[in-house]
């Protein structure tokens, strides 16, 4: 199929529809508005439903209802809006329902700003909602990868019966790149026998629920979720490693920042330095094993983020004290320049040629 040039936010909508998503519930917030607007335009043409909710809280609870009813359903928002959705995300995780949530991240805290940021790493990976739960978090770096991951997210969500979040930033949302739509690999998807679509007098009622008033029952439920999360850690980790084994310095960056880091690494290579890159594609599960490739030769690891340092915690956990971990970040909507990253790499490399 020929490639088409699309803006990130619209490409996400097109990918979702290609993946069979027929329901979208959302609420306006910059910088993701082109996505709900695309869905409002396109879903009615295919017999789907776009509904603008009265709030992000209502939107995610509509998703909760539609997911329970057996639909392929999606919502999107940006940072403060995702904060409001956390209640529903926790319920959806607890009730084990599939859905896809897109966060086009902007700067915070509070109302923050509307420029690209990565300051929702904690919110995405630590569970902004209450309780012992996790969900897959994808962090694509190009529009093509965004499209691929959005399409696959619906299958992943259904395979594991959990919310899947795709985290972009204002850059991913607003940038245009050529893309093509490719079928994701086939996954084992069970029929949704648990869905609330009416008993028709032929089965016992289905109940969608996250309440377990007996503590032993709740512990059993949470441990069942935990086993699922362990399986995901085993099977669904994604990352890109570049020249890690041979590197004097290894940079860790995801999403938009990883692209800038690649430019910085190219500049360092021109000067004869050996710099590697670890690019987590899944923020949860975090690619701990990507760090096993780091050898004794590496002097230090540099984490680059558009935040004051959030992913760095996971980098330190993955390295478990094996290497010094350094940080460089810009935040509030400021984007790091390749030169600034080169300077940081040089500081760590010291005299190494």
């Amino acid at each position: 199929m020929a490639k088409v040039l699309m803006k990130g936010n619209e490409a996400i909508g097109a990918a979702a529809i290609k993946a069979g998503c027929n329901y979208f519930f959302g609420y306006p917030i910059t910088p993701q508005n082109e996505l709900p607007e695309y869905m409002a335009r396109e879903l009615p043409n295919i017999g789907g439903i776009f509904l603008q909710a009265e709030s992000e809280v209502a939107a995610i609870n509509m998703v909760y209802g539609a997911a329970g009813a057996g639909a392929r359903v999606m919502t999107s928002s940006s940072s403060p809006g995702i904060a409001l959705k956390q209640e529903g995300i926790s319920y959806i995780a607890g009730a084990e329902l599939p859905c896809v949530i897109v966060n086009i991240v902007r700067g915070g805290p509070g109302l923050g700003g509307i420029q690209p940021a990565q300051s929702d790493y904690y919110q995405s990976t630590r569970g902004g909602g209450n309780g012992d739960y996790r969900h897959v978090v994808y962090a694509p770096a190009t529009i093509q990868e965004t499209v691929d991951l959005v399409m696959e997210s619906f299958d992943v969500a259904e395979q594991y019966r959990m919310p899947v979040m795709v985290v972009g930033d204002g850059m991913i949302g607003q940038m245009m790149e050529p893309i093509e739509f490719k079928e994701p690999k086939k996954r084992p998807l069970e029929p949704k026998t648990w869905a609330t679509d009416g008993t028709k007098g032929k089965r016992k009622p289905n109940i969608i629920n996250s309440l377990f008033i007996d503590p032993q029952e709740l512990e059993d439920h949470v441990l069942k979720l935990e086993r699922k999360y362990d399986e995901i850690k085993e099977k669904e980790v994604r990352y890109e490693n570049y020249n890690v084994e041979d590197a004097d310095v290894v940079v860790v960056a995801y999403g938009t920042t990883s692209r800038i880091a690649k430019n910085a690494i190219a500049k360092c290579e021109e000067e004869g330095m050996k710099v590697g890159l670890i690019r987590p594609i899944t923020l949860w599960p975090f690619p701990d094993k990507a760090f096993d490739e780091i050898t004794d030769k590496t002097k230090g690891v540099l984490t680059v983020e558009m935040s004051t340092g959030q992913m760095i915690d996971d980098v330190k956990i993955a390295l478990n004290g094996r290497k010094p971990v350094h940080f460089y970040g810009r935040t509030g909507g400021m984007v790091p320049t390749p030169d600034a990253i080169v300077d940081e790499i040089k500081k760590i490399a010291g005299g190494v040629k």
């Binding site: 909710a53 509509m62 209802g65 009813a69 679509d197 289905n206 109940i207």
Partner: protein, 248 residues
């Protein structure tokens, strides 16, 4: 011998957890009987609230979805938009619907969601132990209004049905009560009409049922029914507030 009464198939065999004298049980049965009489149990999805009736999902003999506090109308919206041919209802108390879920119920009504809401108003938060609700009457004591509701401080109680009836999307709004047998019969009629209007695709319907809370009111069940009649009905007048023209 002719059978004069039978337990409705609209309820499961699970015993209610409600306090003695609480009228949730009566209201559950009325909803269940209506769903059975309309022969839609197999086509119905109910949405349970947070509050005393949180376990409603165990009692109604149809598919059920337990919502977050106040969000039942949003959850019901999601379900109904996926299954427009099914019957979808929410069952909510006054804390759930009138306080934390005010936005969700107003906008579900404004959109004219083709769902039915059973709104059980007993003027207090029951499950959490008798705190003041938006519907708590002036001067009424609750654990968070221990000297009686001071309206200069907490505002006047909300008349939710009258407020929702101002919205064009709300096609059927009626306030009923269960303080005596005659009122219970009227309540069942209103509930049936609300579900019939959903089946004919009219739009949003709500039945507000005035209910008791003997435990948190600190009254006996009989005293509670009398208190409802003497105190709640004067402020929350019973009757139909709106019905589509063609069925009046």
């Amino acid at each position: 011998m002719a059978k004069v009464f039978e337990r409705t198939n609209g309820l499961t065999d699970k015993p209610f957890h409600y306090c003695p004298g609480c009228t949730h049980g009566v209201i559950h049965r009325l909803v269940a009987e209506v769903l059975e009489e309309l022969d839609v149990l197999g086509e119905t999805i109910g949405v349970a609230p947070v509050g005393c009736s949180v376990f409603a999902y165990d009692y109604f003999n149809c598919d059920m979805h337990e919502a977050a506090h106040g969000r039942a109308p949003a959850v019901a919206t999601g379900i109904k938009r996926v299954h427009p041919d099914k019957v979808v209802f929410t069952y909510q108390g006054d804390g759930d619907l009138a306080s934390i879920g005010a936005a969700e119920i107003i906008h579900a009504a404004a959109r004219g969601e083709k769902i039915t809401t059973i709104f059980v108003n007993n003027a207090i938060y029951g499950m959490t132990g008798g705190q003041m609700a938006p519907t708590t009457l002036e001067g009424q004591k609750a654990t968070t209004s221990p000297y009686g509701r001071d309206v200069s401080h907490a505002g006047m109680p909300m008349r939710v049905s009258e407020m929702l009836a101002t919205l064009d999307g709300a096609k059927f709004v009626e306030r009923v009560s269960v303080h005596n047998a005659a009122a219970v019969r009227k309540t069942k009629k209103a509930i049936k009409k609300a579900f019939e209007l959903q089946l004919s695709g009219e739009g949003f319907g709500i039945v507000e049922v005035l209910s008791t809370c003997p435990t948190n009111w600190g009254l006996t069940p009989v005293e509670s029914l009398k208190w409802l009649e003497e105190n709640m009905i004067p402020y929350y007048p019973l009757g139909n507030i709106c019905t589509p023209e063609e069925v009046k």
